[in-house]
Symmetry: C3
Subunit: 347 residues, 3 copies
């Protein structure tokens, strides 16, 4: 009996089977011996649960015992990790087993293929231009002047506002609203996301707060992924920019004129206030907030739930509220505990 942790066929469709030699080529592994190479592999599985006909991964020395006793027919690993295994049949050697296994996963469980066409219940403005092979679901709104590249999937009830440009191979999730945006290739946006909303800037006047004009755009570069229920404001003057390859988790707030570099990672419920610049490869932990008009250098790491109120240097790691260098933050927490113990002794 397959344990329930294996993919539910109601939701995931398996491809294959593939000969091990095919899988080896797919991940640029050293070719397996001839016997192994012709073996048919029909699924992936964890090192504990995978059985005959399945391939698993061994990428963490702590699980050596499990690797040595796995029932899987094949294992992706590295020469170094597998050095204790005498029988090397069925092993695929790569430099980065974790990355290779992720690629094998996508081979066995590819994204659902698009069903090209524009549903008759979608709302397609006659001036919009749709690329080849797109799937436009019912209720989707493609407004005047919109350009959509090839092989995009625009989900149910997604609303794409006037003039928006979307590149190739993008996914816009169901019930998402996008306006004032230029979107690159391979961008994936989840459900219930708002992109291009007005920035939050006001001038106080005698009758109340007057919203400052928000005349900028949202520029989303290639291969950006944006999680569910995020909100990304357009620039006031100039653009809000999300750099290529940056990934954003759910419920994240990006203020107007924020500029994020490439391959940065923003975890769930992060908030970035207006005009802050974030470099490349920055890691921002969940629920962190970064104040407005700051500069966060490339490679910086911001611990979860931090409140960043000053610039962060490239490569610097900070934590706490207000955020300080991460070692100082850990020392502060310890110092507070010691202070309490001393007080108790005094008391």
């Amino acid at each position: 009996m397959r344990p329930h942790t294996l993919p539910d066929p109601r939701f995931f469709h398996r491809s294959g089977p593939f000969p091990l030699s095919y899988i080896a080529r797919h991940i640029a592994a050293e070719p397996p011996d001839d016997t192994s190479g012709s073996m048919m592999i029909d699924d992936i599985g964890s090192v504990e649960t995978a059985g005959p006909g399945e391939i698993t991964v061994f990428c963490d020395a702590r699980y050596l015992d499990k690797f040595l006793t796995t029932r899987a027919s094949a294992t992706v690993t590295s020469h170094d990790l597998a050095r204790h295994k005498s029988n090397r049949s069925g092993l695929l050697f790569v430099e980065d087993p974790r990355l290779a296994y992720a690629k094998i996963g996508h081979l066995f469980y590819p994204s659902s293929p698009l069903v090209p066409g524009v549903d008759s219940r979608a709302l397609l403005d006659p001036t919009a231009v749709i690329g080849d092979g797109c799937q436009i679901d019912a209720g989707a709104v493609i407004s005047a002047g919109v350009q959509v590249g090839a092989r995009c999937h625009i989900g149910f009830h997604a609303v794409v506002g006037p003039g928006v440009v979307i590149g190739d191979d993008c996914v816009i999730g169901a019930n998402t609203a996008v306006s004032h945006a230029l979107i690159g290739d391979r961008v994936r946006i989840e459900s219930c996301v708002t992109i291009g909303s007005q920035g939050f800037g006001f001038v106080p006047g005698p009758k109340g707060l007057l919203r400052m004009l928000q005349l900028g755009r949202v520029v989303i570069e290639d291969a950006v992924e944006i999680g569910a229920n995020c909100a990304i404001d357009r620039g006031a003057t100039g653009d809000t920019v999300i750099g290529a390859g940056t990934v954003i988790d759910n419920l994240v707030q990006i203020g107007h004129n924020v500029r994020i570099g490439q391959k940065s990672v923003l975890c769930g419920q992060v908030g970035i206030a207006g005009s802050t610049e974030i470099g490349d490869g920055v890691m921002i932990g969940g629920q962190s907030a970064i104040s407005d008009h700051l500069v966060i250098g490339s490679g910086a790491r911001i611990a979860g739930k931090s409140g960043v109120m000053r610039n962060v240097k490239p490569g610097e790691a900070v934590g706490g509220y207000p955020a300080v260098p991460i070692r100082q933050w850990h020392r502060q927490s310890s110092a507070l505990s010691r202070l309490l113990r001393r007080k108790s002794n005094d008391g």
Copy 2:
């Protein structure tokens, strides 16, 4: 004149009137005397504003004065609370007056009845199975292979993805998107919620971050309630699980493979990072964050806005960031204040 705090008939439809004896039976109260029992009650109201023909509740000794002077015809209370009242006419005695009064509220103001049927503008895949008595609103999308139980309400533009299973007596709010999910009975999901989105896990590669396959599901057990604009990711391998009777407020983020037990309470804007396990009857205050791969024991209490970075024992109460036992957190705050006073004296 009825004060404006009473239910607005544009939004709420009152049932009744009911004889007091009927109400008594409904809440399993001791039967009232015959004169009281035949009295007709036509609405509920607060102890201060309720008048003749109305029923109120007295469940907190601090409001004794108001109870002694209430104009309400009937009051739900307990023997202990009402011991100072000499005239016991119109009193209904129960062990838990607050719970009883909540039940009376639902008696007088039942949920709007369903209008069974599938709107012609809903999108119903021919392979979907819909139970008896369901109301499927216009724009709702019921995808291939979906199973919906009896007496469900699928709101306007709600999108139910392929293969999703929904039990009996569920409500899926307007503009909500559900995929990769198995949902029990009596589950209520508000508007603009995303369920089943991809988890946030990536492997760094030479071309950027490659998303790890997210081949799990979201399992939502019976009687779960999920607030507006929440995001719940599906598991990577295995499931994200929300246990029976757990209630979740608005704008909450649940990461992949999180497992929550039964009858836990998650307040607004809480975030739970991937693979964390939360027991039964856990209370999590608003805006708290819990790191990934932790275990929070049953009956634990986490103060609002805490940042939990370690396991929490069953029944333990913690607060602060990083979260510590709640008493220690209060002492830390006090110690900081004292430290400042001493500094001022030194200075």
Copy 3:
């Protein structure tokens, strides 16, 4: 070549040109001299990038150098700021240049005009009443008994529940769901917002948590602006109230029976727990949380990411978690640093 920071004509449509004298009247500036007054102005621009035919603003003495060398044909400023400029041609003098410039911005870039009419794919209940000049987009749902004032824009797939009242000149964003609400004039609500959801109050019972009846409303007064992906619960008994002119950023959570005064400012991801009262002109920084049943006085200022657990007096400024007077919070942070240095010296 125009720098890319100027408005993208795909998204923004410029009005004008206007003679400078017309602009002066629009902002109630002192009339310019005759030569300047007849000059045609065709766009706005920053003090650095604006050129001939354009108008800019000088409202901050730090940018004096840029003002003295601007190529703009006209500048909005004040007598005091401009006192170092000998050639006063093309200057418009007002008391508040920033506010005046915001007004000029709206003159040149007015909101897109409505396209009045009810789209044939909107769902309009026959008992709903729609004012003159409204634009009701496809997929919008206007339920039984709804009243919509004049010149409103109800976006694609917005769901307006039974009995909701909306005033004049309102905007309800795409994919937003509104129920149990009375909305004033000039209210603007962004996309993917939920208004009128059930409050988060439960009574524990033998079978689990029973939700307390939520029989109140959401009352949104005139000129309120609500950002994307917010969630505002209706009252339990009585109303949740957002006072006139209050502005709310994205992803904000407002609990049941919260009452917010006039012209307050709630930044992104703020959370207000049930029954808390917030006065007029209160500023609440991003990601702050305010506990339930508190009173925050008018003019109070709450720093970003604060956790407010006690009442705040009118005009008081607080910060931190738990929030304390802002000076004390800054001293706490400094004291912690000093404590660490002393420890290091000891060590």
